[in-house]
């Protein structure tokens, strides 16, 4: 197995919710609450979860776009969590991000060439005279025509705009890319094009991805491993093909069973998970999932489950995953 490009240990990102008159914070939103994981060089790690579970915050924290409260972040073996903005600058070109809404993340007053040049400007090794040539290469990379360099973002469709965003992220020759719901705003046929492009670029340029999405069904098409997040914690990480065929955590099973499948012969789908997503201000103790888990016991209420290694790079946070697995509670009911 190749080395870990990103190695994060027990990171916590809290946002202040309430302050007293003196400015003392009395309540914190615990968006990310103790996440430990590794992203290996050349892999695409998926991150799924419901809205408000902290998956975007985790992605932003790794790129130091969100305030880190505690924990370690290592990029290529170097600790980056303590760096200030200036100290982090040499790392910026190496870590890039693509956002959900391409229209909102492109400056409407700039042409595509200006947008790409702006990204190129943070790479000291590229000469200004090379910008146009480099921009042309980037356009070819994302299957856009070089003559489009002089157009403005509004002249493109949503899928093309997302391609420009990807080109901009690639401009600095990054090693690590975070896609934050990058395909969620697109139609299925366009989404398919963008996902194929992303997979193709990853192979060609040996990139490492963190792919954040709430859509489980696209995970298997692009990711090698998938992490499932719930209420600020990672519940399990498994190889993508194993995760949904044979989930180890009851939450993953619930999430998978809720997806409507585009096949009318499998009608008994969409099993229902009771309860609501917990408040991150005051999350439940023990296992975060216990109030909604059909298999929860007294132990789940009081004891935080430790990560249990299933195999290399795959682990589960559940007290009972072995018993549940043996008894077949997590099997796919649609296949029965």
């Amino acid at each position: 197995m190749p080395g870990a490009l990103i190695n994060i240990e027990n990171i916590k990102t809290y946002f202040p919710q309430k302050k007293t008159m003196t400015g003392k914070v009395t309540a914190w939103i615990r968006a990310v609450d103790g996440v430990t994981l590794k992203i290996f060089t050349g892999e695409c790690l998926g991150l799924v979860g419901e809205s408000g579970c902290g998956k975007s915050t985790l992605g932003r924290t790794i790129l130091k776009l969100a305030p880190l409260k505690s924990g370690n972040i290592r990029f290529n073996g170097k600790e980056i969590q303590h760096l200030d903005d200036r100290g982090f600058q040499p790392f910026r070109p190496k870590m890039q991000m693509v956002f959900q809404d391409p229209r909102a993340s492109l400056n409407p007053k700039m042409t595509v060439l200006q947008i790409l040049s702006e990204a190129l400007a943070i790479c000291p090794e590229i000469d200004k005279k090379q910008y146009a040539q480099r921009a042309t290469e980037l356009m070819n990379m994302v299957d856009l025509r070089p003559e489009h360099l002089f157009r403005y973002p509004h002249e493109f469709s949503g899928g093309q705009q997302q391609r420009i965003c990807i080109a901009r992220a690639l401009a600095t020759q990054p090693e690590f890319l975070v896609f934050d719901e990058a395909t969620s705003a697109l139609d299925v046929s366009v989404q398919a094009q963008i996902i194929n492009l992303m997979a193709d670029l990853q192979k060609r340029l040996n990139l490492t991805y963190l792919f954040i999405s709430h859509d489980l069904s696209i995970m298997e098409h692009i990711c090698q491993r998938v992490a499932v997040m719930y209420a600020g914690r990672v519940m399990e990480i498994q190889d993508a093909d194993a995760l949904f065929a044979s989930p180890r955590h009851p939450y993953t099973k619930a999430l998978r069973d809720a997806v409507p499948i585009a096949d009318p012969t499998k009608k008994d789908g969409m099993a229902i998970l009771k309860g609501e997503v917990p408040s991150l201000l005051n999350p439940p103790g023990g296992c975060r999932f216990h109030p909604r888990c059909p298999h929860a016991t007294h132990r789940c209420k009081n004891e935080v489950p430790e990560a249990d290694l299933v195999k290399s790079g795959n682990w589960v946070c559940c007290h009972y995953h072995k018993t549940l697995w043996k008894k077949g509670f997590l099997e796919n009911e649609r296949n029965k």
Binding site: V188, E220, E276
Partner: protein, 342 residues
Amino acid sequence: MSSKTQQEPILSVQDLTVSFEGSRGVVRILEGIDFTLYPGEVLALVGETGCGKSVTAKSLLDLIPQLSRQRTGRVSFDGTDLLKLSNRELIRVRGRSIAMIFQNPQSSINPVFTLGEQIFRLIRMYLQDAIDQICKQQNLKQKTAIGLIAKEKLVEVGLTETDRLLKSYAHEVSGGMAQRYKIALALLSSPEILIADEATSALDVTVQAHILKLLKKMSQKTGTAILFITHDLGIAAQICDRVAVMYSGRIVEIGNTMDIFQKPLHPYTRGLLEAVPRLGEKDPLRFISGMIPDLSNPPQGCRFHPRCDHRMAICRTQKPIYKNKNGDHAVACHLYNAKAAG
């Protein structure tokens, strides 16, 4: 479903065309929309962004900007043509006979009134008989009776802690709760038709599963027909009886859910189905090449022909007509007309 076709349709849309006049001339958003809706059925209207699915739903109740729009065709509902009604007459239909729920529940609730105030008002409008009855039977004041009905209706859609909910404002409840509340409001008047415009697209899968099951159950219980507008083919497969596929302002194929998913006829439907990512598959996704046409300058003939793998000479010049228009599975494509002709 032969039993359904024998039934009287509750809504029948014939040759509905909607166009807008803008600075670039007349833009035909919808071109000859034809479909029928039967009592108690769930019909899905699927298609990509900009294909006109929302405009179809909104033009039924004339919720589109009225100054520049032109509509032709016929929308028969309950013996009247909805297109001929004035605004004043339409008010009696909107919400009462044809209710609608929208994509973003929080923004379609009035933020300055509590959820309670809004549901009480509608109960007073629609359920005066029930209020009087409860007042008489249990010797209660009107206000208490309304409160009781409100709680009952909220419990019906699976909401708990109704006391707290009635005192809350829109921003204080979660998306799933807000959408359930909107469904409760929409069903207060026991409408004949419920139009759900991307009603679950903004929600998480687990919440979405709740809402979809609820809608399906409600439609079976009350016989309300649902027109479900969605871009998610999974939803269409799971809860809808029939599916209509739209492309660039036209319905290109309409049929039973089973037929559409297992024997899709139109090349666009096939392309759309192949582009859907599925759990348990790893192959590269297929996609439809090209882009959605510009509606101000749509392609001649079949609007899909520039992107179609099976295009023929006739596709460029002639608009395809529906084959098997009144049957179970209709399709507008020259491939099938040519075959039928020999």
